[in-house]
């Protein structure tokens, strides 16, 4: 009598989904890594230090996992949230008060904070083990950009609840753009850009205006940050993540000379 799991494993449906037999022997443990889409990111075998938690801290992996958590909870939040002055705050209130057992926003917010921390710790580990050294210099550079994008993702998301905490944090954070050299209307060198004595860089044309879409944090800003937060930045992160992972493989694992 074949057991139930054997029957399932040998059914046509199961075999059509999984292109490999159960990874129970050495051969199939190799095959599974090569033929499964989700696993093919990994090599078939790695050095023992690559799986030692005391060595890797698993922080890069946790950061990626948190990115996925943010994507899923973010999509769910988008079902409930409208980025307009009229609705933004009310929708967040409804998420808090109307949804039963609603911890969606909590998961998203704490996940975001955690992601900032884990990405720093990942950088910390990579530095301490000298893993940025040749041939991985460029992957470190991509990692730095990903760190920056993580901060920007968190920053743009901070505005969306549209409460006092949100707009003043973004006001404080974006005020600095006013002082961008040359391109900010309160920055050094911006006076040089004048046409017939009329300044080209004003508070309605400078770097801060480009960021906010307005002269102060308003509805245009909300829309701009919403699009950046939900579409532009995640796409950029996903693109760079792909290169980051691919380079880890091509550069010969997570660390050590090639």
């Amino acid at each position: 009598m074949p057991s139930l799991s054997e029957i399932i494993r040998h059914s046509q449906i199961w075999k059509s989904i999984f292109r490999h037999p159960a990874p129970v022997d050495r051969r199939n443990r190799v095959v599974v890594m090569l033929t499964n889409f989700f696993l093919h990111l990994h090599p078939v075998s790695i050095k023992k230090q690559g799986i030692a938690l005391s060595y890797t801290w698993c922080m890069g992996g946790v950061t990626f996992f948190l990115f996925l958590v943010e994507t899923v909870t973010g999509v769910l939040l988008m079902f409930y949230y409208r980025p307009t002055l009229e609705w933004a705050y009310k929708d967040i209130l409804a998420l808090r008060d109307v949804m039963s057992m609603g911890i969606l926003r909590e998961l998203h917010r704490w996940g975001a904070h955690a992601m900032v921390i884990t990405v720093w710790l990942h950088m910390y580990r990579v530095f301490l083990t000298g893993s940025y050294k040749p041939p991985r210099e460029f992957n470190w550079v991509i990692g730095v950009i990903l760190l920056l994008l993580t901060l920007l993702l968190s920053f743009t998301g901070y505005l969306l609840p549209w409460d006092q905490l949100a707009i003043w944090a973004i006001t404080v954070g974006s005020n600095m753009a006013r002082a961008t050299p040359i391109l900010g209307h309160e920055g050094p060198g911006s006076q040089l850009l004048t046409v017939d004595g009329i300044p080209m860089i004003t508070n309605a044309s400078d770097a801060r205006f480009a960021l906010l879409g307005a002269r102060f944090v308003g509805e245009e800003t909300l829309n701009r940050f919403y699009v950046l937060h939900c579409i532009a930045l995640p796409l950029a992160v996903a693109f760079l993540l792909a290169i980051h992972f691919w380079r880890v493989r091509k550069d010969g694992g997570i660390s050590g000379p090639l």
Binding site: V32, L39, I46, L107, N175, P181, E186, P257
Partner: protein, 453 residues
């Protein structure tokens, strides 16, 4: 906060504190059990071994827990920092003591790392830090700022960073010992390969489940903050950026926005990216070590732990209304006045030293004369900075054998890039010290061009 309010506050925090002490007890009991089972645990005095101490600590925390659960002000007084100690800490604390103290403590930890990374010592320090936090939590002002939902991650960050810094240093010290004995670093022994399925795949799965569980507990225990609806006319005091940018906001005290908000952050990103191209040391690739790359280790730790993280902690926990400094147990009083009269370098030079007015261009002067006069007015600062950036790198090559070696190995361009980045980084603490010790405002102050440095 006194009387009725304080009783209410203590009652509110009692259940958290009780659980907190039970958690500490479990932590120590777990450590004791682990060491006892493995027969590890070092001998302290006679037959007493370290796990006996941890068991004792666990008992102590278990006994504290019901006191904390009581929520009774009379009882809670026994598990609080005495008011005199709190007042002393508040009195002692200031930006100077905090920053210099942090650097001093970290230096001591670094120099004595062979002692401090010992698991027994590290565990004792962790217990000390956790106990201090517990004793401090009964102070309403301290609890207010630590329990603010958006600040909880920073508390987590401090402990995580402490743990991982210890772990990295511990592994590095072990490896350095081995290298001294002529052995390869420990990681080299793990050179043999294993299959990814099941070893790595299952580790990842367990990590994912652990993170998910943690996130759910966090999300259920702490509500995401939501304040009043946004209002462009009601400015909160203090207005703070998100916590990860508070280091930059703290820099605003010492630099103008164009530096603190634009130029320095860009240079931080650029400098991080430049690390692999500046660090030519081939050693320390793929294993923890400090001795084999002391220079890069110290530079990175100074940038990351001191300038990045401690400034964030300062900006979050110790900066209150009007960005004034408040001790950890001090009430955030918006009327606290701190008289500050900051003085530009040009005023020091012309007014205080030469005893004459600063040069000022005549109202009807032409463009060129105006520029000239402004440049002359700011000449001391300009010369000082040119000297700092241009002469220091050369002087270091002449005077220091270490930097001469760097210069030889890196070549002019790479050496100058590294020195520029290092000097920009060091200019921040230098400027902080100048501000604290003689109220220096700007090295170069040209408000006419909005160019203050």
């Amino acid at each position: 906060m006194h009387g009725h309010n304080e009783a209410l506050f203590l009652e509110e925090i009692s259940s958290f504190l009780g659980l907190y002490y039970l958690f500490l007890a479990a932590l120590n009991a777990g450590a004791a059990f682990y060491l006892w089972r493995r027969g590890r645990g070092i001998r302290l005095i006679g037959p007493i071994r370290s796990f006996h101490c941890w068991l004792l600590l666990a008992l102590l925390f278990t006994m504290i827990a019901p006191l904390a659960f009581s929520g009774d002000p009379q009882v809670m007084r026994w598990i609080s920092l005495p008011p005199s100690v709190r007042d002393f800490i508040d009195w002692l604390m200031g930006p100077v003591v905090y920053s210099v103290g942090t650097v001093a403590v970290l230096t001591v930890l670094f120099v004595g790392r062979r002692f401090f990374v010992k698991p027994t010592v590290a565990w004792l320090m962790l217990n000390g830090a956790l106990l201090f936090m517990g004793l401090a939590m009964t102070d309403p002002d301290f609890a207010d700022i630590v329990r603010k939902p958006d600040n909880v991650p920073i508390v987590g960050l401090i402990y995580l960073l402490g743990y991982f810094t210890w772990l990295g240093a511990y592994l590095a010290v072990e490896n350095d010992k081995r290298i001294q004995q002529g052995l390869p670093p420990k990681e080299k022994e793990l050179d043999e390969k294993v299959l990814v399925w099941p070893d790595l795949v299952y580790t990842e799965l367990i990590c994912m489940i652990a993170v998910t569980a943690l996130l759910f507990v966090w999300a259920i225990c702490i509500k995401a903050p939501l304040e009043e609806p946004a209002s462009a006319v009601k400015t909160p005091n203090p207005s703070k950026a998100p916590w990860y940018f508070l280091g930059l906001q703290e820099m605003l005290v010492y630099y103008d926005p164009w530096m603190a908000g634009v130029v320095l952050p860009s240079l931080i990103i650029f400098g991080l990216m430049a690390i692999p191209y500046l660090d030519f040391n081939k050693k320390g690739n793929g294993y923890y070590t400090i001795d084999e790359r002391k220079f890069s280790y110290i530079v990175f730790q100074f940038g990351f732990i001191v300038l990045w993280v401690t400034l964030i902690v300062l900006g979050t926990f110790l900066r209150g209304p009007n960005w004034n400094f408040f001790g950890p147990f001090e009430t955030w009083d918006p009327h606290k006045v701190e008289a500050l009269n900051n003085v530009d370098l040009s005023e020091f030079f012309w007014v205080r030293w030469l005893q004459r007015a600063r040069p000022r261009p005549p109202e009807d002067a032409g463009m060129l004369i105006k520029v000239g006069v402004i440049l002359i007015r700011e000449l001391p600062g300009i010369l000082l900075l040119i000297g700092y950036f241009a002469i220091t790198p050369a002087a270091m090559v002449v005077w220091s054998r270490f930097f001469r070696e760097l210069f030889k190995k890196m070549g002019l361009f790479r050496y100058m890039t590294m020195m520029f980045l290092l000097q920009v980084m060091l200019l921040l603490p230098v400027k902080m010290v100048c501000r604290w010790s003689f109220n220096l405002k700007y090295f170069i102050a040209i408000p006419e061009w909005m160019l203050n440095f």
